[in-house]
């Protein structure tokens, strides 16, 4: 925590709180999709539940941002009343670890669109592996599971990766990120 500035921590924590609410709001959307398509419904939009780790990491660019933000968001979600209860904190940590692994593989040096999409996909892979053991995908047919896996990973790449980047870039335009890594990078590009 030594090389983190306090404002980075507070901003990360605020982002987590905001997205905890967003995460809760998307649960009913998931349920509707499940109603239409069966268990795979959640996987289509699963990326939304990784988005804070991508956004926090993209804005702050410090090791731990993805993991911590996702963990805090999950904890707040539970405190606000998510039916899954404390188990969700563990799911959150694992998703966060997945995204974190994506950034760690670039040694926290690259934050372009591909890296963000890759981190979103890693979050999908990790969360799917955890889900496989925890929520019983084992009982489902192999082909169906594969389809679920693919949609979750794609959703991670598109919603969390592409969507997270678009939202962060829109925020950077307002100028409020000027003292964070993302804002500084934009300014350098602008100057060049």
């Amino acid at each position: 925590m030594k090389n983190w500035k306090l404002k980075e921590i507070v901003v990360m924590s605020v982002l987590s709180v905001v997205f905890a609410v967003v995460y809760l709001a998307f649960l009913p959307v998931g349920k509707v999709l499940v109603g239409f398509f069966g268990p795979i419904g959640y996987d289509f939009i699963f990326g939304i539940w990784f988005i804070v780790s991508i956004i926090a990491a993209y804005i702050i660019r410090k090791p731990g941002a993805a993991f911590l933000s996702e963990t805090i968001a999950a904890t707040v979600e539970v405190l606000l009343g998510n039916a899954v209860g404390p188990m969700l904190i563990i799911s959150g940590m694992i998703q966060g670890l997945g995204a974190e692994a994506g950034f760690a593989l670039t040694r926290y040096r690259r934050y372009d669109l591909w890296t963000l999409m890759f981190a979103g996909m890693m979050a999908g892979v990790f969360s799917f592996a955890w889900g496989y053991f925890q929520s019983g995908f084992a009982a489902l047919a192999g082909g169906y599971v594969l389809l679920m896996f693919i949609s979750r990973v794609l959703s991670g790449a598109l919603i969390a990766g592409v969507g997270g980047k678009a939202l962060s870039d829109a925020l950077a335009k307002t100028g409020v990120l000027s003292s964070f890594a993302l804002g500084k990078e934009k300014r350098k590009k602008h100057a060049a």
């Binding site: 335009k173 307002t174 300014r187």
Partner: protein
């Protein structure tokens, strides 16, 4: 504290924000730094506490010495042990949930023994008058109480200097007065020196020992007693965004300054001629829209009121009396719990006839540039261009709306609301926390629109604005209408009961009638 030759550049700006600034603050002294918003006042605060150059994106030259040590060499947080700051925004100064925990937070940082903490906390809360609120949640405090709490948090750490960064900018006049008189008491009873940063001079006149005037070019152009500064630079202050005490301004206008410029009512009394009663009376008699037996939750109770066509209506009253709620109901943003709002507009096109400028204009922005923001509501290229010219934002057309200054944001918001020639415009405290120049600019625009027939409804705490611009006034108290009618007649009512102050002109006139 001693500041010498301070020059500061931001990476993304061409001109330095601060240029070659030198001044000192002595023990037990109260120094007031005056300057327009955006003139680098907050930047200077960051330099004084050592936040800059540590977190600065840019370059800084010069030295800030506090108690014989350079501030910049201290560890983050360490300087704060002897310099405390009260910030402008009451919402964002706290990290704990209750009052006592927040006060304790500073003591914990100083590693004070927990055994003695409670005693210090009780003492400091008594000093600022919050002892009743010790266990209260901070969220439920009023703005004024939050600022007092911020002060308590700092006092408890026994600083030798307190910096106040526009501490009353977000408070209403009653809370402002209470806060400043608390500071005056502290000035008498403690050894602390105060460094106050402000653009609005009025409340601070009596407690200030010395003023510094910071120009738009980032230089300090005056350092000395207040009266001298006013006398010397009376003509330049307005363009520098610094507002004079209103008494002084009136005296200047009336040409009764004489050898020394008056700062307070007492000094002006007896010199002032009675201003002729050239006031505009309520011209419109035809009602445009209104409320009948309207209630909303527990905020408004059985309200009957109407807004006259073509009027400039001011809505006044203490905070929490239901001003914003009333305007939102009248504008059709919120639906009443019971009763009826009547208006001549069709249901669907209501918002093409009614505009509403929110307290925080940022909430209304939808796009990524000033131009698009205005164009969002009107496709007509020429009209957008005209609108931007009208509100003086043509040069900023490509900027992101969030990057504008507070005053510019307000004007952009007004522009987006009037681009379709709306019939009514509601404004929620549009001049709050703005410097003299942007207030004047905005009021000019509103006056302009009012002349061309737009009905304007404006919530405000500023009785001088009511006096100059309003043709009608609605005064609220505890969710009900306490007065509705001509402003001139309001001043004859018991305005103190409504937490209002008569405008200076009226005060002086009534003084003039008292046989001496």
């Amino acid at each position: 504290m001693n500041v010498s030759n301070l020059t500061l550049n931001y990476e993304d700006r061409e001109e330095p924000v601060l240029r070659d600034i030198s001044f000192s603050v002595n023990e037990k002294e109260t120094v007031l730094l005056l300057g327009a918003s955006g003139s680098g006042k907050s930047t200077l605060t960051h330099c004084l506490t050592g936040l800059y150059p540590r977190e600065l994106e840019g370059s800084m030259e010069g030295r800030v010495i506090f108690h014989d040590k350079p501030v910049a060499d201290a560890l983050p947080g360490a300087v704060s042990r002897s310099i405390g700051i009260v910030f402008q925004d009451p919402e964002t100064q706290f990290c704990m949930l209750t009052v006592e925990d927040e006060v304790a937070f500073g003591l914990e940082n100083l590693q004070v023994d927990p055994e003695v903490m409670e005693e210090s906390i009780d003492a400091v809360l008594r000093d600022v008058g919050l002892q009743e609120k010790k266990k209260a949640k901070i969220t439920y405090l009023s703005g004024g109480e939050k600022q007092k709490l911020a002060l308590a948090c700092i006092l408890v750490m026994n600083p030798t200097m307190i910096i106040l960064d526009e501490p009353t900018a977000n408070l209403d006049p009653v809370a402002t007065e209470a806060f400043v008189s608390l500071l005056e008491k502290l000035k008498r009873t403690t050894e602390v020196s105060f460094f106050v940063i402000e653009h609005d001079l009025d409340p601070w006149v009596s407690m200030t020992d010395r003023v510094l005037m910071l120009g738009r070019d980032g230089r300090i152009f005056y350092d000395g007693p207040l009266r001298g500064g006013l006398q010397q630079y009376a003509g330049d202050l307005k363009s520098e965004g610094i507002s004079m005490p209103r008494v002084s301004e009136l005296a200047l206008q009336a040409g009764v300054v004489g050898s020394s410029i008056p700062l307070t009512m007492e000094e002006l009394k007896g010199r002032f001629p009675i201003i002729s009663g050239d006031r505009h009376k309520g011209e419109g008699k035809e009602s445009l829209l209104g409320a009948e037996h309207v209630s909303w939750k527990s905020v408004l109770r059985d309200v009957d009121v109407s807004v006259e066509k073509g009027s400039f209506t001011a809505v006044v009253g203490p905070n929490g009396s239901g001003k914003t709620t009333l305007c939102r109901l009248l504008a059709g943003i919120t639906a009443p719990s019971s009763g009826e709002i009547w208006h001549p507009f069709g249901k669907k096109e209501r918002f093409s006839h009614v505009g509403y400028v929110f307290q925080n204009p940022e909430h209304q922005f939808l796009t990524d540039s000033v131009w698009e923001e205005v164009a969002y509501s009107s496709a007509d290229h020429a009209q957008v261009k005209r609108m931007l010219e009208w509100c003086g934002l043509t040069n900023h057309a490509d900027l992101h709306p969030f990057r504008l200054s507070q005053g510019q944001k307000r004007r952009l918001s007004v522009a987006t609301m009037l681009v379709n020639d709306q019939d009514v415009l509601f404004l929620d405290e549009p001049t709050f926390g703005q410097d003299a120049a942007s207030t004047e600019h905005l009021m000019k625009l509103l006056e302009d629109k009012h002349r061309s027939g737009t009905t304007i409804v404006m919530i405000t705490h500023d009785m001088e604005l009511v006096d100059v611009y309003a043709t009608r006034v609605i005064a609220m108290k505890e969710g009900q209408i306490a007065y509705s009618g001509d402003p001139e007649e309001l001043w004859e009512e018991d305005v103190e009961a409504l937490h209002l102050k008569r405008p200076l002109r009226v005060q002086l006139e009534s003084e003039a009638y008292v046989p001496q």
